[in-house]
């Protein structure tokens, strides 16, 4: 459950520095989690940022103590926790990880240690009319990608006609709900409680949408360690140590004793991987290709539109820098340097979330503007260089023939500059096609995002990743070929 991923790297470095050095010596229990998830899962202690706090932190400490090891935190992005567990990057993953059949099929999963309900959150004013998912036909409903809540929304899309909108963090679904960009949020009760606390004007509905469990995940083959951890968890359920942890974090409720009773009676361990298998390559392709193709269309349309904007603006900026008065040149140079010198990701976040209190751009519009405005800076530099590469002698000749400056630009300088610019422009378009994956952070589900969701759903990157790469190539290769043909044609002409 990551917050804004842009800050992930900084957080990861800080926490790596903070927690990599164990206070005690001895064998380690490396446990993976995402500190961007924040309280009550894992977060930096506000009093002492070098220290981690959260119920998952306490459970990891409990497990380590019983195993005779020293806990060591390994920062992993929430969306890649499962893949990291499979790789063996840590001994156990604990970060509000949901129990799913796919996880059980691919990993060694512990017994459930917490039961949560999926909660529908709406604006106070809509409390009466949006009581359940059935009331949200044609409405945008936000959630985190690759979660049980997402699966519930996809099912509700078919059943009730709701429109799922996926986020990569659990903060912005609620802030966007408050702003009116979406009409409801479905997430687990822990996140929903935090979302409502932070956004006055939101309420959680009582509708029963679904129930899930948090588990720990270990690499396949680690069943021995998993079983020892299960014994420790069960013992902690019996002796009240787990209850104490959840009470400290205000998470204890009447659902937990019932869960513990089921676990201790052995029932939960009987939820097997049997009958749930990762689909074969052909089946996965058949199942996911149509949706991936749709997402590829979003990528292509967005990239083409953004490139058109970038080219148009780039031509204007380049012309202004070559022909404009000094103040205009300075202003345009400033624009180019700012847009090139700051991350595109940051620009997208500012456009969509940062300006939300001033202007609420629809996600696709913000993505189009963000990519277009950023790439315009790069395009303008290509055109400026190309314009300046046309020999001065030809410009003198145009002037002595009586062509105006505008005619010289459109008839002599521009066409030659365009030929020089074509190859770098093609290069930029291919780069933009790939950079467009960043817009998933502002809720546009394009090809890479859809691939991530599928990979998380089936617990494997192989088929979704291959399909995704094939689709990107199918979009970029014809373009590169077309550009080469045009260039060849010009050389022959």
């Amino acid at each position: 459950m990551s917050r804004v991923a842009a800050f992930g790297l900084v957080a990861a470095v800080l926490f790596a520095l903070a927690v990599d050095v164990p206070a005690q010596s001895g064998p380690e229990l490396r446990w993976g989690g995402d500190s961007e998830g924040g309280a009550p899962f894992v977060e930096a202690d506000p009093q002492n940022p070098a220290k981690l706090v959260g119920f998952d932190v306490e459970i990891a400490a409990l497990l380590a103590r019983e195993l005779g090891r020293v806990p060591r935190f390994v920062q992993v992005s929430f969306t890649t926790l499962e893949a990291s567990a499979a790789r063996g990057d840590f001994d156990i993953g604990l970060s509000g990880i949901e129990d799913t059949p796919a996880r059980r099929a691919r990993l060694a999963v512990t017994v459930p240690y917490y039961e949560f309900r999926e909660v529908l959150t709406v604006r106070e004013a809509d409390r009466g009319r949006f009581r359940s998912l059935a009331d949200l036909r044609g409405r945008r409903v936000a959630t985190l990608g690759a979660t049980l809540a997402y699966d519930i929304l996809v099912a509700a899309q078919g059943e009730h006609g709701v429109i799922p909108v996926t986020y990569e963090d659990d903060v912005h679904p609620y802030s966007d709900l408050a702003l009116g960009r979406v009409d409801a949020v479905v997430l687990d009760e822990v996140l929903a409680a935090r979302g409502v606390r932070r956004n006055p004007g939101l309420v959680n509905q009582d509708a029963r949408i679904g129930v899930g469990h948090y588990v720990g995940v270990l690499a396949a083959g680690q069943e021995g360690l998993r079983d020892r951890i299960n014994d420790i968890l069960k013992q902690a359920m019996r002796d009240g140590r787990l209850e104490a942890i959840f009470r400290r974090w205000n998470m204890w409720n009447e659902d937990q004793p019932r869960l513990y009773a089921r676990v201790l009676s052995g029932a939960e361990e009987l939820v097997p991987a049997a009958g749930v298998t990762t689909p074969g390559a052909w089946e996965a392709t058949r199942r996911y290709l149509p949706t991936l193709v749709q997402a590829a269309v979003v990528t292509l349309v967005l990239s083409c539109a953004a490139m058109a904007l970038a080219v148009a603006l780039g031509v204007l900026i380049a012309s202004g820098r070559v022909y404009g008065a000094r103040p205009l040149q300075v202003a345009l140079t400033g624009y180019v340097e700012v847009m090139r010198g700051t991350p595109l990701l940051l620009q997208l976040l500012v456009l969509y979330f940062g300006l939300a209190s001033v202007i609420q751009l629809p996600a696709f519009m913000a993505a189009f503007l963000g990519l277009g405005l950023n790439y315009a800076a790069y395009e303008s530099e290509i055109y400026r260089g190309a314009l300046e590469a046309v020999p001065q002698g030809q410009l003198d000749a145009a002037r002595t023939l009586g062509l105006t400056d505008v005619q010289t630009l459109t008839l002599v300088r521009g066409p030659q500059a365009f030929r020089l610019a074509l190859a770098p422009m093609t290069n930029d378009f291919v780069a933009l096609l790939k950079d467009s994956s960043l817009v998933s952070l502002i809720t546009v589900v394009e090809l890479t995002r859809q691939t991530t969701i599928f990979a998380a759903n089936i617990g494997s990157w192989l088929v979704p990743g291959t399909l995704c790469a094939a689709l990107y190539l199918a979009m970029s290769l014809p373009l590169a070929r077309l550009a080469r043909r045009i260039e060849k044609g010009w050389r022959r002409a």
Binding site: A397, A398, R399, T400, G402, Q416
Partner: protein, 225 residues
């Protein structure tokens, strides 16, 4: 430069000075050319022959003196703009030493571009006239070639056709024989004499004395300052 209508199509250069950066290239140059006259500016390299042509064509400013050409007056200051520039460029054509043909246009397109876009002639008529000019200069067979496919001599004749297509009363030519073999030189001399006989004023910058004799030019020799 400020420009004023003068009402005559001949060329008059009065005591001009030209600077290139801090260096004074020439000073106190004075000459005039009448309608139908062929005039050659001669002198060693660096004496400012090309600079004089560029100043008359309105490409570079003069530092002192004034130039009267095609009904406009050029004085020290900025190069002409707007209506004055249009008036000047309708009166004065120039053929550069290195031709400066538009690299993305074929030979015939180079020639009809200005008539169509500056003089607003219909494209078919302009193209027909362009082909006639190329024919007259002996390069009709290269009409569809791009500049980089032309020899030096061919490119130069296309550049002459391009300058003539807008029918300027004054034609300036910078080192016109630089890319020509002897046979082509005598052809060009004949062409220039014919153009002058038609009433065009032609000013050459050259150090080819033999060509000057063949053209039967009046000469002005520039010296190093």
């Amino acid at each position: 430069m400020t420009l004023q209508a003068q009402g005559k199509a001949t060329l008059e250069v009065r005591d001009i000075a030209i600077r290139r950066g801090d260096r004074l290239v020439l000073d106190g140059l004075r000459f005039s050319a009448t309608r139908g006259e062929l005039l050659a500016l001669m002198g060693d390299s660096g004496t400012g022959k090309t600079s004089v042509l560029r100043a008359i064509a309105g490409l570079d400013p003069i530092a002192a003196g004034e130039i009267h050409v095609g009904g406009v007056r050029l004085v020290p200051g900025r190069i002409p703009r707007g209506a004055c520039a249009r008036e000047l460029h309708r009166s004065v054509g120039i053929v550069f030493q290195f031709h400066h043909l538009f690299a993305h246009k074929t030979a015939v397109e180079n020639v009809w571009l200005a008539p169509v876009h500056v003089l607003r002639q219909p494209r078919p008529a302009a193209e027909r006239r362009a082909r006639e000019l190329l024919e007259a200069l002996g390069v009709a067979g290269r009409s569809s070639a791009l500049p980089h496919e032309l020899s030096g001599g061919e490119a130069q004749r296309v550049a002459i056709a391009r300058a003539l297509a807008v029918e300027p009363p004054v034609l300036l030519m910078d080192e016109p024989t630089a890319s020509l073999d002897p046979a082509r030189r005598s052809d060009l001399a004949a062409t220039l004499r014919r153009l002058a006989a038609d009433g065009r004023t032609i000013v050459l910058a050259t150090h080819d004395a033999e060509f000057v004799r063949a053209c039967d030019c009046r000469t002005i020799t520039l010296g190093v300052l």
